[in-house]
Point group: C2
Chain length 326, copies 2
Amino acid sequence: MKIRVGIAGYGNLGRGVESAIAQNEDMELVGVFTRRNPEDVHLLSANVSTYKMDDITNYTDKIDVLILCGGSKNDLPEQGPVLAALFNTVDSFDTHAKIPDYFEAVDTSAKPNGKTAIISVGWDPGLFSINRLFGEAILPEGATYTFWGKGLSQGHSDAVRRIDGVKGAVQYTIPVSDAVNRVRSGEAPKLSTREKHTRECYVVLKDGADAKAVEIAIVTMPDYFSDYDTTVNFISQEQLDTDHAAMPHGGFVIRSGKTGEGNSQVMEYSLKLDSNPEFTSSVLVAYARAAYRLSQNGETGAKTVFDIAPGMLSPKSAADLRKELL
Amino acid sequence: MKIRVGIAGYGNLGRGVESAIAQNEDMELVGVFTRRNPEDVHLLSANVSTYKMDDITNYTDKIDVLILCGGSKNDLPEQGPVLAALFNTVDSFDTHAKIPDYFEAVDTSAKPNGKTAIISVGWDPGLFSINRLFGEAILPEGATYTFWGKGLSQGHSDAVRRIDGVKGAVQYTIPVSDAVNRVRSGEAPKLSTREKHTRECYVVLKDGADAKAVEIAIVTMPDYFSDYDTTVNFISQEQLDTDHAAMPHGGFVIRSGKTGEGNSQVMEYSLKLDSNPEFTSSVLVAYARAAYRLSQNGETGAKTVFDIAPGMLSPKSAADLRKELL
């Protein structure tokens, strides 16, 4: 019997989850739930139906795990706790500072209802978090570095788009090679925000907008840009559409530590992703398998990637994993 | 109250464990057990005692977790099951092909005695295994590559030392850069054994030994060298002692996969270790914490790294981990 999966929300992430489920033989996609008119939502597969989000309560017996594909800013804070009372869920809530509150809200909702909810799944938070944990647990005397990119940052792109006079924009976060190489060498340097990453913006101006004013508004924007060396490039809408439609991303988590009489030890985890949302979706689907199994074992409430044993992610049996992969 | 740890066997690994325990404030080293005369074993710390291995049965109430630091070939197959009946244990059994049998033997011994035994801990098997599992669980359509080195291989060094006419030797395993780069690019090439690694030997000859005969014996040795391009360098005992005493190692696990309409996604885990035994020891100590906690939770029997949730390795609380590292 396959694990019956539902998707709540069908943007880039939902589409990625649909693709990823098709790569996993032990899973089947039951349906996609949307706040839009279901007839206006066109799936990749012709065999799967779309339903109104409001009707989701009718599907509690038909879905083993619901993957929440809404955004962290507006969708998940509201949907996460509500849906975790009805379904086993997995989501990619990624507002780091609000994770403790979100965890409590989802846990309070899932546990009394006997549901399992894995929150903040993806690569950061997610796989990168696991590697930060492994790094400091294994090498207690050391320093951890997270570098992001080269990749398109959705949050920073949105911030640029909100500036007066901007018609369209994308922002790339770029790790500084020299800083990465110093860290990899085991040097354990102290690095400022500015020394770790640069930011590169590609902006389409509205007719009559003042390019200089837009550039200043970007590079001086607090939190987002003022602590970085930022380059602003003005391009046409055509260039934006053709050259900047992809959503690559990636990065590195490096732990540099010392053991014994000062031997240097360097652990590095890195991702090079052609499609950020598709990769995040693939991680969500692997953790949906874990959510199903935890639920079968009666382990309810909110969980994070820190609570999930690696073997839970694989379709293989524990004995096969020991034989083939250990 | 600190976690009370014992060490069984005091070679490079045991010494590394002693150092690593000193880096973890929530642990204390109770004692070192040895088959040698305890008075001949000199620890790094003056405050810790050495005991006869035969007396270890007197310490079952004084030790929370015993870390087994013997070798996989002769020591662990015998000690592992015996000691797992008396203590919670962690070991680094690394004979990949024999892991399923070893697991069964340890499980059969630990479980009825209410003990927890984590086997095959280290970096391969261990951290590399976890990354192989994550790779194929998250990117089901893809290929996994493990490269080792540049590093000193104990097994291959021993094989060279057993050849007639060899007084001393070390062997380095070296990943082929071109192969690593092709894999990293997402190309997913088919690679033969010979294309992935080369082997480099540094050999001291006995007086009157035939260098050419030794070289031929090395490069044609089945399993160990015949499938590789192997270089043999003859050096003096002094050069061996001064230039080849360190035990560096490392390597890469790379998963290269496709998602969606063919987007390339590359996950890479890499280690660059100045001291292989000290790093393995640091991993053992982190998993000793997990063994203690599993035991406290009543989860008994044999386990592997696949069965251990990441959070179990950290001294931090689950709430702190979510706040600080997720």
